[in-house]
């Protein structure tokens, strides 16, 4: 789609970012010790820390990715919300207080508290870096996605802006400013998401969501022996027919140029239904047959039929929080399915309409194939269980979440801040259902990128709301990226340089090393954010959770609850978790598609590694520990 910058949006956005930077510099001047830089001096109030937790956790994956996935695939997106939230129960009941008792700056401190092992320090530091970088990728992708409609800039510009701003924040002030940025953004995200949902409910749904919404037209083909030979409407002429799977696509011409249409057959009656196409010719990309600037590539997302209280309507009027779902359940939604094919020297990317009953978008199955009758295989089901396992066990193993337990003063404060976080995050995840389905019905979807569903939904209700929501979404990314970069810099300065390499450093030098590491990680994040453009951010975060759950959680749990755990066992567990989870991801069908290879030829049939890598990591710990019962301090 074509996006143009709106001056009001730009002013609100820049003011917000400037305020966040000002806040960082202010706190940067207040503390320069390592304790202040890496753990905010351990003096943050639990209430503030709880909201900051929410701000840290509700990343691009939640606001952009989940809302986008719900808008595109319905209930399956909400499964991410449930998994992300359920993971906090592991954090609250099992990990929060012990982490606070054992640690100092990083989660490696907690793992190493009993052993003082160089091997643990090295592997925990490496694990923190890998998980943080995996988690950084979707945040940076989300940043690129946001600036395109907001500022009219290309994807890479957004990635670079976030990378530079965050690196400035982190390298100037560390954990304290990061905490207040996250607090601010967490609170604003909850407030404005609630406002957006209230507006969605007041407006209800319409079959024509706005006056300028493009109504897709239908033509009548002339058929001979089951094949199209012409078009009955005089201004169109038939060019060719192509079969893709079980669907036929027809190329027809009018005075504007060539376009692709879908051939439909219903009880012996044929029709041609308009599609969205991007046709790449050797010279230029054509959007619905015209150059991009012509603006012929429309937004989508609407109901084909709306039912309220059993009666078909054109507009529902205001809806209640439960009635909202009843209307969706009873209505029919126009969703879009993407196909790709070649036409002579041109490659064609096409989205055609799929009419989906409301009851199907309100149950699992549109993204994750789970229904046997619709061809779901055992591997599909395993893949789904593996994802839900990773989300459940991943949260409590994320380094940037774990370090937040060191910013409060006591274990009870750690516990209370976790409860505040769960309440805030839980509320937000309930709101994702309303925002996601709101986008699905309000004609705001960009078929090229579902990640922008929530901000574009806000745009539907006015540019000021859009600017505020986008600025908050941008701050969401700033906050999460800041937390990740602080965690990474702590891993380098504290775990690797100080403890593993044994370099004697003054507090000042340690902070300097941390800031240097922050800049390097920031640059890596920018590069990866540009490379992974176009992938759903919630999906990418699922991988980060899988790596974290595999590499870190078995060690944390076994250290706390199995007395025979040894340092060798922990090292074996982290190493196994990293290698197996990353190995499966890198050899998965999704990554094969990214490499430009045939996804079907990928050695692993599933994308989510947790179901294999978590048990293997536990097994490595148990075997490593049992074999080294008398050598606890060797490593």
């Amino acid at each position: 789609m074509i996006y143009e910058a709106n001056p009001i949006a730009v002013v609100i956005f820049i003011s917000f970012v400037a305020f966040v930077l000002g806040l960082s510099f202010y706190f940067g001047k207040k503390g320069s010790s390592a304790k202040s830089y890496f753990a905010a001096g351990g003096e943050i109030h639990w209430g503030v820390n709880g909201v900051a937790f929410a701000g840290d956790y509700l990343s691009a994956a939640s606001f952009l990715g989940i809302c986008g996935m719900i808008a595109v695939a319905g209930y399956d997106g909400f499964l991410y919300s449930i998994g992300y939230l359920a993971g906090w129960m592991v954090a609250m009941f099992v990990v929060a207080e012990p982490m606070k008792r054992l640690g100092k700056y990083t989660f490696a401190d907690a793992l190493d508290a009993k052993f003082n092992s160089k091997g643990i320090q090295l592997m925990a530091g490496i694990s923190t870096l890998i998980v943080s970088i995996f988690y950084l990728i979707p945040q940076m992708v989300g940043a690129g996605v946001l600036v395109t409609p907001l500022l009219g800039l290309p994807h890479y510009a957004g990635v670079i802006i976030v990378g530079v701003v965050v690196t400035i924040i982190v390298s100037t002030a560390g954990m304290k400013s990061t905490t207040y940025v996250q607090f601010l953004k967490g609170a604003l995200l909850l407030i404005f998401s609630t406002i957006l949902v209230i507006i969605v409910l007041i407006n209800g749904f319409k079959t024509k969501p706005s006056d300028d919404f493009h109504q897709y037209i239908t033509l009548t083909p002339s058929i001979e022996n089951g094949a199209v030979v012409g078009v009955e409407e005089a201004e169109y002429s038939f060019v060719k027919q192509i079969e893709v799977g079980s669907t036929s696509f027809i190329k027809i011409m009018n005075e504007k140029g060539p376009r692709w249409w879908e051939l439909r057959e219903d009880n012996g009656s044929y029709s041609l239904v308009e599609t969205l196409t991007i046709e790449s010719t050797p010279e230029v990309d054509l959007f619905n047959g015209l150059p991009k600037e012509a603006g012929a590539f429309y937004s989508v997302g609407s109901a084909s039929r709306l039912f309220k209280n059993g009666v078909e309507v054109q507009a529902t009027g205001a809806l209640g929080i439960f009635g909202f779902f009843k209307v969706i359940n009873d209505s029919e939604i126009i969703r879009y399915k993407k196909v790709q094919f070649s036409d002579s020297d041109n490659s064609v990317m096409l989205w055609h309409q799929v009419i989906t009953p409301g009851n199907e978008v309100l149950r699992p199955g549109l993204k994750f194939p789970l229904d046997k009758e619709k061809g779901a295989t055992p591997a599909d089901k395993l893949n789904f269980i593996s994802l839900m396992l990773a989300l459940f066990f991943g949260t409590a193993a994320l380094p940037h979440i774990l370090i937040r337990y060191y910013t409060v003063s006591t274990p009870s404060a750690a516990r209370k801040s976790t409860i505040v976080a769960i309440a805030g995050i839980g509320l937000f995840y309930i709101l994702t259902m309303y925002m996601g389905f709101g986008a699905m019905f309000n004609g705001v979807m960009d078929v090229q990128d579902g990640n922008m569903a929530a901000p574009l939904l806000a745009k539907h209700f006015g540019v000021v709301l859009f600017a505020i929501i986008s600025a908050i979404a941008f701050a969401t990314i700033l906050g999460t990226v800041s937390g990740l970069i602080v965690a990474s810099s702590g891993a380098v300065a504290h775990d690797l340089v100080d403890k593993f390499m044994g370099k004697q450093m003054t507090d000042k030098v340690k902070v300097l090393v941390g800031k240097g590491a922050a800049i390097v990680v920031g640059i890596i994040a920018i590069a990866l954010g540009i490379l992974f453009e176009g992938m759903n951010v919630a999906y990418l975060v699922g991988w980060a959770f899988a790596v974290a759950a595999s590499a870190n959680l078995p060690s944390i749990l076994m250290l706390l609850f199995w007395k025979r755990t040894t340092s060798v066992g922990i090292i074996a567990s982290i190493t196994t978790g990293i290698i197996t989870s990353m190995g499966i991801i890198l050899l998965s069908s999704s990554m094969f598609a990214k490499y430009g290879l045939d996804p079907a030829s990928a050695p692993f049939p599933i994308d989510n590694p947790a179901i294999f890598s978590i048990p293997l990591s536990f097994l490595a710990l148990i075997i490593g520990s049992l074999l080294t019962q008398k050598k606890k301090s060797v490593a």
Partner: protein
């Protein structure tokens, strides 16, 4: 560089054991409820279409239930822990 916790944590070993036990029990309960949810989705996704109440189907109802249950269990856990912390703190004060 110094090692050890950022802030010295002074908790009686029995208090820690009690809180850990409560945490594990609540964690087990939530894990069972979450696992049932994942299993229904995996084995019988169509069952999630069943209307439960207030116009919500099982999928939406169970999802919201898991989120609200998390908050309620968090509050219960905090209430139990705070009570026992106060008790230990009082005993410590009396001993002095």
């Amino acid at each position: 560089m110094d090692h050890g916790p950022n802030v010295k944590v002074d908790e009686h070993v029995d208090l820690v054991k009690y809180k850990t036990k409560v945490g594990i029990i609540l964690f087990a309960v939530y894990t069972v409820v979450y696992s049932i949810f994942v299993l229904i989705n995996t084995i019988s996704p169509k069952a999630m279409e069943v209307a439960v109440m207030l116009g919500l189907n099982l999928a939406v109802f169970y999802g919201f239930f898991l989120i609200i249950l998390a908050v309620i269990m968090g509050l219960v856990y905090n209430s139990i822990c705070t009570k026992i912390e106060k008790k230990f703190s009082k005993e410590k004060g009396d001993a002095k």
